[in-house]
Amino acid sequence: MNDSTNTNPLTRMRGGYTSFSDSIHDRWATAPRWARWVVYLLLIVLAIALPADGIGSFMSPYTDWPTLLFFPIGGYILLAIGLNVVVGQAGMLDLGYVAFFAIGGYGMAVFGTKYGWSFWEILVVGVLLSALSGILLGAPTLRLRGDYLAIVTLGFGEIVRKTANNWNYIGGPNGIGGIPHPPTLTEWTIPDNGLFDAIGIGGVQPFKYGALDGKPYYYLMLVLIILAIVFVKRLEASRVGRAWASIREDEDAAELMGVPTFKFKLAAFAIGAAIGGAGGVMYASQAVSIIPTNFPFILSATILAAVVLGGSGNLPGVILGAFLVAWIPERIRGLQEYRVLVFGAVLVILMIFRPEGLLPSRRRKAELAEGEGGMGSMGAEVGGPVTVGAGEGVE
C-alpha cells in the first residue's frame, strides 16, 4: 500500500501481530489430521505438567499455583467457554452470567450439606439445575433485543445474588459452610520416577481431593474443560452452530429460512448456563464454604472481558483471554493495591490495540471489523479520510 498514514510504529506492530496470527490460522486450517492430533496431545501433556513447581514459581510467586490454576484460571476458562456459547456463538449479550455460576455453587452446597449427596451426583444435578434456570430466565426475555437483554441478564444476576443473601434457608449472607469435597477416588500416587518428576507431577495423588493440594482439583477442572471444549466444538460444526451463526448475523432472515431462532437461542442460553453451573459446582466443592459475595457483578464483567479480549467466538482465543484475565491480576500481586488499577488500564489498552480480540476467528474478525456480529458497531461511525481505516485494506 502506498498510503502514508500508517507508518506509525503502533500500527505496524498491530499489522505484524495480525499477519502473524493469520499465518498461524492458515497453517492450522491446512494442517493434516495427524498433525492436529499431535498438537492436541502436546497441549494435554503441557496442561498436565502445568502445575509443576518450576512453572509455578515463575507464574505465581505470591500465591499457590495449582490452586490458582483451578480457580480463578481454570474456573474462568470454563466459564468463558460457557459464556462464549451465548455471546460469541449466538450473539447475545449476557451481563449476568455469574448467576449460573452461583446457582451451580449453591446447588452443590445445598445438596452436599443438607442432603449428603456426593459431588458426582451433584455435578449432574447442578448442571441440570443451572440449565433449567437458564431456560427459566431465557424463556420470557430472549425475545428482547441486544441491550435490553443485557440489562435484564444483569438484573437477573443481581436478583440471584440478593435472593441468596436474603434467603435464610441457604444461609443468607453467611452462605453455606462445610461443603464436602469430591470423594477421593483412589489414593493412587503418581510414581516418583524420573519421567514424571521431569514434568513435575511425581508424587502427586491426582484423585485425592483434600483442602490443601490444589492439583487434583486442577486435573478435575482440566477434564471438565476438555469435555466442554469437545462438546462446544462439535455443536459449532453442526446444524446448531450454523443456526447460531445465522441468528447472530440476521435473526429475521434466519427465522424465515426455517431456523427456530427462539429455540436455538434458548439452547445457547441453557448450554451456557449448564457450563457455568458446572463451574459453580466445582468451585463450591473446593471452597468448602460459599457466601453470596463470591458471586458479584464484577465477575460477570470479568468473564465477558475474557471472552471479548481473547476473541469472541473462537475457543482458543477465549481460553487465552480467560487465562490472561485470571492470571494477570495474580501475577502483578507485587503491585499490591495498584493491581486492579493496572488491570483496568490493560483492558482498555488491549481493546484499543486489538478490538477484535487477541485470537479472533476469521469469521468473527470480519464481523467485528465491520461492526456486525451480533451486537453491531457503535452508531456514529463513519469512515473518514482522516481515519486509519485505510490500513484495514491491506492487513
Binding site: F231, R234, L235, S238, R239, V240, G241, R242, A243, A245, S246, E249, D250, D252, A253, A254, E255, L256, M257, G258, V259, P260, T261, A267, I271, R363, R364, A366, E367, E372, G373
Partner: protein
C-alpha cells in the same frame, strides 16, 4: 423481449396453493393492506406489482408470518398459516428472498444454503454433540443438496466463498438457492431483478421458469416490466394497499387504472 417468454401451454386447472382471504393489515392508524383477496394457483408464476408503498412487501410479510394480519386469513394448501411462527411457515413449504439481499454475509455460500437445508433436519444438541450417525447422515445429505442447488442457480463454482465476497448478481442467486434449500412449494421472490443488468435479468427469467418447472409455485414482486410481462402467468396490481387489477399480463398492460396509478403515460417513457 426474449423469445422464451411464451405463456405455458397447459394451464393448470387452477388448484389454489395460496389464498389470501380478506387480509387487512393496519399499523397504528395506517392501513397498509385493505381487504385483500388473492388466489395463487399451483404451478403458477404470479406477479405482484404496484407503486412503492402499495403494500407488496407487506403481503410477503403477512404470508411468511412476519406480520400477523389484523383481519383475514392466509390459507396455504388448505390449511391456515396466519398465526403460525415464521419458521413454521417455512417448514410448511413457503420460502422467500428479500428486497435487499439478506444473506448471512460472513458465512460461506455453502453454509448459507445449509442453513436453509437445516430447516428439515432434526439433529438436536445431543445428536450434534455426540456425533451420532443420524447427524452425520443429515450433514452429508445437506451438503449434497446444497451443492446441487448451487449448481442449479449457477454458482456452483463459488461454494466455499464468503457470501459477502460474491458479486451482487451471485448474491441474489445464492439467496434463491438458500430459499430453495428449505424445499418450498411456494417461493416468494422480492424484487429479484433489482440491481441486475439486462443480461443477468434474462438469466434470472430462465431460472425462475426452471424453478417453476420443478413443480414449485412462484410469487414475485418486481418493478421491471419487461421481466414481469415476460414470465408471469398472472399479475395483480396493488395501490394504497388495495388490489386495483388482476389478470393476464396483456390485460394489465392495457388497464386504464393501472396505467394511471402505476405505469404512467406510455408516451413519457420514450
Amino acid at each position: 423481449m426474449s423469445e422464451t417468454a411464451a405463456v405455458p401451454a397447459e394451464k393448470k386447472a387452477g388448484v389454489p396453493t395460496l389464498e389470501l382471504r380478506g387480509i387487512t393489515m393496519r399499523f397504528g392508524g395506517v392501513v397498509a393492506i385493505n381487504d385483500l383477496n388473492l388466489t395463487i394457483n399451483e404451478g403458477e408464476i404470479f406477479a405482484l406489482i404496484g407503486p412503492n408503498g402499495a403494500g407488496k412487501t407487506t403481503v410477503f410479510n403477512v404470508v411468511t408470518g412476519v406480520y400477523q394480519p389484523t383481519e383475514g386469513q392466509v390459507v396455504f394448501q388448505d390449511s391456515r398459516i396466519d398465526g403460525k411462527k415464521r419458521f413454521q411457515v417455512t417448514k410448511r413449504g413457503v420460502a422467500r428472498t428479500f428486497q435487499n439481499v439478506r444473506l448471512f454475509h460472513n458465512m460461506s455460500a455453502m453454509e448459507n444454503v445449509l442453513v436453509g437445508a437445516d430447516a428439515h433436519h432434526r439433529t438436536g444438541l445431543a445428536g450434534a454433540a455426540l456425533g451420532l450417525p443420524w447427524h452425520r447422515r443429515e450433514e452429508r445429505d445437506g451438503r449434497a443438496k446444497a451443492r446441487e442447488l448451487m449448481e442449479f442457480v449457477g454458482i456452483g463454482h463459488r461454494m466455499e466463498e464468503t457470501a459477502k465476497n460474491l458479486p451482487y448478481g451471485d448474491q441474489r442467486r445464492l439467496e434463491i438457492a438458500r430459499a430453495l434449500a428449505t424445499d418450498p412449494k411456494l417461493l416468494l421472490l422480492d424484487e429479484p431483478a433489482a440491481g441486475m443488468n439486462p443480461t443477468e435479468k434474462e438469466e434470472l427469467q430462465g431460472l425462475i421458469k426452471r424453478i417453476r418447472d420443478t413443480g414449485r409455485t412462484v410469487l414475485l414482486i418486481e418493478h421491471d416490466m419487461s421481466l414481469i410481462m415476460g414470465i408471469s402467468d398472472r399479475i395483480a396490481v396493488l395501490d394504497f394497499g388495495q388490489k386495483i387489477a388482476e389478470g393476464l399480463p396483456a390485460e394489465i398492460q392495457n388497464n386504464q387504472r393501472v396505467i394511471e396509478a402505476y405505469l404512467g403515460v406510455p408516451a413519457d417513457a420514450s
